[in-house]
Symmetry: C2
Subunit: 248 residues, 2 copies
Amino acid sequence: MTYCVAMSLDEGMLFASDSRTNAGVDHVSTFCKMHTFEVPGDRYIVMLSSGNLATSQYVVNTIRRMAALEEGAHVNKVSSMFDVAEMVGLELKAAISRAKEGLTASNDVDFSCNILLGGQIKGEAPRLFLVYPQGNFIEATNETSYFQIGESKYGKPIIDRVIKPDTPLREALKSALVSFDSTMKSNLSVGLPIDVLILHPDQFAPALRYRITENDAYFASIRASWGQGLRKVFQELPNPQWFESGTQ
Amino acid sequence: MTYCVAMSLDEGMLFASDSRTNAGVDHVSTFCKMHTFEVPGDRYIVMLSSGNLATSQYVVNTIRRMAALEEGAHVNKVSSMFDVAEMVGLELKAAISRAKEGLTASNDVDFSCNILLGGQIKGEAPRLFLVYPQGNFIEATNETSYFQIGESKYGKPIIDRVIKPDTPLREALKSALVSFDSTMKSNLSVGLPIDVLILHPDQFAPALRYRITENDAYFASIRASWGQGLRKVFQELPNPQWFESGTQ
């Protein structure tokens, strides 16, 4: 499993991904799920992936190779993030159908993969996409300024309560970390380290790239303060009158 | 979709279920998902169901009819909750396989259903089971004293943080309601009214049976206080030093 979140806010973009992969519970490894593509001063693009690791690595490698060989309209050349999303969608769909080739339905391996793709190409505003395994994709807007992939449900309530387009990046980062905390508490297959990347508009280079490991004092303090705070709020909730009367 | 939770604690048992059903987004109805079986002074049994409504209604009806006709070892006669769980499992499995009869794999209707089954039969302690659509079942223990069915992930973190066997029922009820609040915020297919039932040991009758509707002032106050409290805790979380330094 995996948990990744990406936000596109007025102040900039935030990307965060865990790094645990597992094939069954007895084959657990650490892989960075954050991949970046850069042309200094011209573009900075971030990809986060959940799902089948072979598929996502295949897609990333293919896209890197096309750029290295300067094949066609590659990631370092296209003029819009929309074109990058389309390219990622096509490669993703092709990778999945290639993996399935010659296998029967009884080989019930799930080759699918979801990809968060965000960043900025000079001449455009920053843009964020969610690319589906079917190859199609949706773009974040002011009404829905963040996407999650992987094990998204445990960590969604806190992000829903906090994130609006004008949320400062610092607050956005805190909400992302709280959301990772909730997810990691409930799903063992999501785990540290967490990769974080922040991108300011028109910089074409990350304002922050940081890896949160088990020794990170700040993340430990967030986890502790959040847990204590929740318990305090919970204890201060009013008691139901109808409960008291019902138990007479 | 559905959200149901049941807890077996030292002070007693708590059951709560939403009442929204939907077949697609344009066919939304209200059905009580809480069913009770009672022999005054001898037994009180509660069933909560998620999944296919036709299947769960079929199971409940079959079990009621067996009791009414006094057929074999029926729900009002068996001497252990374990027997009830076995009976519910068998009827559930049979109902699903009957529904599938004559249909091909291309009729991709999901007839499955999960059932929470709890209560007490005289001579035994209160017991709580989760019955799977395959007909088998697990029982709650001191280590895991609650079960959820349906849309369980959004509301799990708060229950995980609060519930232990010695949690007072009043606190357990609050955690259940907060958990419904989180779930309803994130999944439109879980909705009011919420049915709540509390069972004290050796009473064989509910200490509380209450339906929370849209006009319930207490539930509204819980939702508001919880939301405000969360935002306050969130705002008081420390800021990351590495974020500041990273953005120099």
